[in-house]
């Protein structure tokens, strides 16, 4: 009994940081789905590219001047990863989806799967298929406390993941609810044709959602690299499926839903692997998904399609 509390506390920390990554990726799925009703299966690869750009930048900055301040290397890596990855996100939409606008729903879906395979192989060709290691930028713990004889720690990297995600989620929520562009996004997700009839260039709004999704995924990619210490061209696949699951769990199309779904999925997974054999963590995670969808088919925060009068 007395060792349960520290285990729980530690798992909450681990689950929150994993869930934050899922949430960051899930936003991209949910925003794109909300606006054009398609699942962007290449989104996991966008996250993977974010991770690679981050590693390459960190290595380059670190090599250029060994004495560069840590904060500078880290923010430099984040900024470059965000910019480059956003360009990839924008291009994917431009090249693989926009020409197919108006075609049956299955067509862009296949194109998305093709794009996903292409990007995976493209990175393999450029960077090799093996793991590459990420220089440990933030070793050490923010704190380590002793709970009834057992240590509970929050590593600096995990703390960064949790706080960066929190800050981004707050910023995004404010932006979507208050700004002119955010309003246009919400309007387009409700009635794209009508937004067009108000003079809005809906293609620009669509591009915007791909760029926002890619920015958040890039941050997730850089941070996961720092946290795990190595990356490979295949990390986008599993993370993408998990984040997609998180988006569905929270209610696809809903931004707060993606946040909630991500955190919930992260916590479920870590708790399952703490108390059950590790192989069961995905069983529990997807079991939860099935269970929630049985009782709430639209996901936790999703709403059924609003009736158009």
């Amino acid at each position: 009994m007395n060792d349960l509390l520290p285990v729980l506390a530690q798992q909450v920390i681990n689950g929150l940081s994993l869930g934050s990554i899922y949430a960051l990726i899930a936003i991209g799925y949910t925003m794109v789905y909300g606006i054009i009703g398609m699942i962007n299966f290449a989104h996991g690869e966008i996250y993977m590219i974010g991770a690679y750009v981050g590693v390459v930048t960190i290595t380059a900055l670190g090599a250029a001047s060994g004495a560069m301040p840590l904060a500078l290397v880290l923010s430099g890596a984040l900024i470059i990863a965000v910019v480059v990855t956003a360009a990839y996100g924008w291009t994917v939409e431009r090249v693989a989806y926009r020409p197919l606008r108006g075609s049956p729903r299955l067509v862009p879906l296949i194109s998305a799967i093709g794009m996903s395979i292409f990007l995976q192989n493209y990175v393999q060709l450029g960077q090799g298929a093996r793991d590459i290691s990420v220089p440990p930028l933030l070793p050490g713990n923010l704190f380590e406390i002793d709970v009834e004889g057992f240590p509970v720690s929050l590593s600096l990297t995990r703390a960064l993941i949790i706080f960066a995600t929190l800050a981004l989620m707050i910023a995004l929520t404010l932006y979507i609810s208050r700004s002119r562009m955010g309003r246009a996004c919400r309007a387009c997700s409700q009635d794209m044709g009508m937004a067009n009839l108000l003079g809005i260039d809906t293609n620009r709004v669509i591009s915007f959602t791909f760029v926002v999704g890619a920015i958040l995924a890039a941050v997730g990619g850089v941070l996961i690299g720092l946290s795990i210490g190595k990356i490979n061209p295949f990390i986008g696949f599993v993370a993408g499926i998990k984040a997609f699951t998180a988006a569905v769990l929270g209610g696809i199309g809903s931004i707060p839903g993606a946040m909630l779904g991500g955190v919930l999925l992260g916590l479920t997974e870590t708790f399952a692997s703490a108390f059950l054999p590790t192989e069961y963590k995905d069983v529990v995670a997807f079991g939860l998904l099935v269970l929630i969808l049985l009782f709430r088919p639209t996901g936790l925060l999703g709403t059924p399609d609003v009736e158009k009068v």
């Binding site: 002119r180 108000l198 009068v309």
Partner: protein, 237 residues
């Protein structure tokens, strides 16, 4: 006489293989209220939407203020002085009334939006009371007012109205037609598509009758209202 504000010259539009407009020609002059009446499926909405570029006309020419807009993209047409309150109103149900209106004035700066909001709220005091309410929870009449108000937010020179009376109580319809008159008196040209032929013809300066994708008659509103064929076909005897 000067050049009309809007003109259709022999416009054909297809939905897939179905020819919905079969060579339509009409004109709307600055400052007029022009109405287009016709039965369900005659092509009224298609004509209006073809003007908006969605769907695009297959052949023929549409001119607005002297410029050929036939092949222009929808959002560029709608940025050029035309606004629409479409069939079914299509307010953004999850946005508040205020946000719907702000969407209408998407290209205005904050100061101009304030002015235009004031103007719309003066025309439709009900919208001011409801400004924080989600548009989807309002009554049909209120949604219609919002759809017209949203269209006015872009300061259009030509306002397109697609069946603003559909499904509304007579009292509300009278109110809305009264406001359409006021909007015209402020200098906005109005092109009104209606099934409620009686009211539309009574309000309009001129009217066109569309049947099966073709304009079959055009005259002043009062002449059409007095026409025996029109009375029989559209005004219930």
């Amino acid at each position: 006489m000067s050049e009309p504000m809007l003109s259709f010259e022999n416009v054909h539009t297809f939905y897939g293989k179905i020819e919905a407009l079969k060579g339509v020609s009409l004109t709307v002059n600055r400052g007029e209220i022009v109405t287009l009446i016709g039965a369900n499926g005659a092509g009224k909405t298609t004509l209006l939407m073809t003007l908006c570029g969605s769907p695009r006309a297959a052949s023929g020419t549409i001119r607005f203020e002297g410029e050929d807009i036939t092949q222009r993209e929808t959002h560029l047409i709608m940025q050029g002085g035309i606004a629409v309150s479409p069939e079914g109103r299509r307010v953004f149900p999850g946005l508040s009334v205020l946000e719907n209106l702000q969407m209408g004035g998407f290209f205005s700066d904050a100061e101009r939006i304030e002015e235009d909001l004031e103007r719309v709220f003066t025309l439709f005091p009900r919208l001011r009371e409801r400004s924080a309410q989600r548009a989807g929870t309002m009554s049909g009449g209120e949604q219609q007012m919002l759809a017209i108000g949203r269209a006015l937010m872009s300061r259009p020179r030509l306002l397109l109205l697609d069946e603003p009376s559909l499904g509304l109580a007579p009292l509300i319809i009278a109110q809305i037609f009264q406001i359409v008159q006021e909007i015209r008196d402020e200098g906005v040209t109005v092109f009104l598509v209606e099934q409620n032929a009686h009211r539309a013809l009574a309000l309009a300066d001129r009217g066109y009758v569309i049947e099966n994708g073709r304009i079959v008659m055009s005259d002043t509103g009062s002449a059409l209202l007095a026409n025996a064929d029109i009375r029989k076909a559209y005004l219930g005897g």
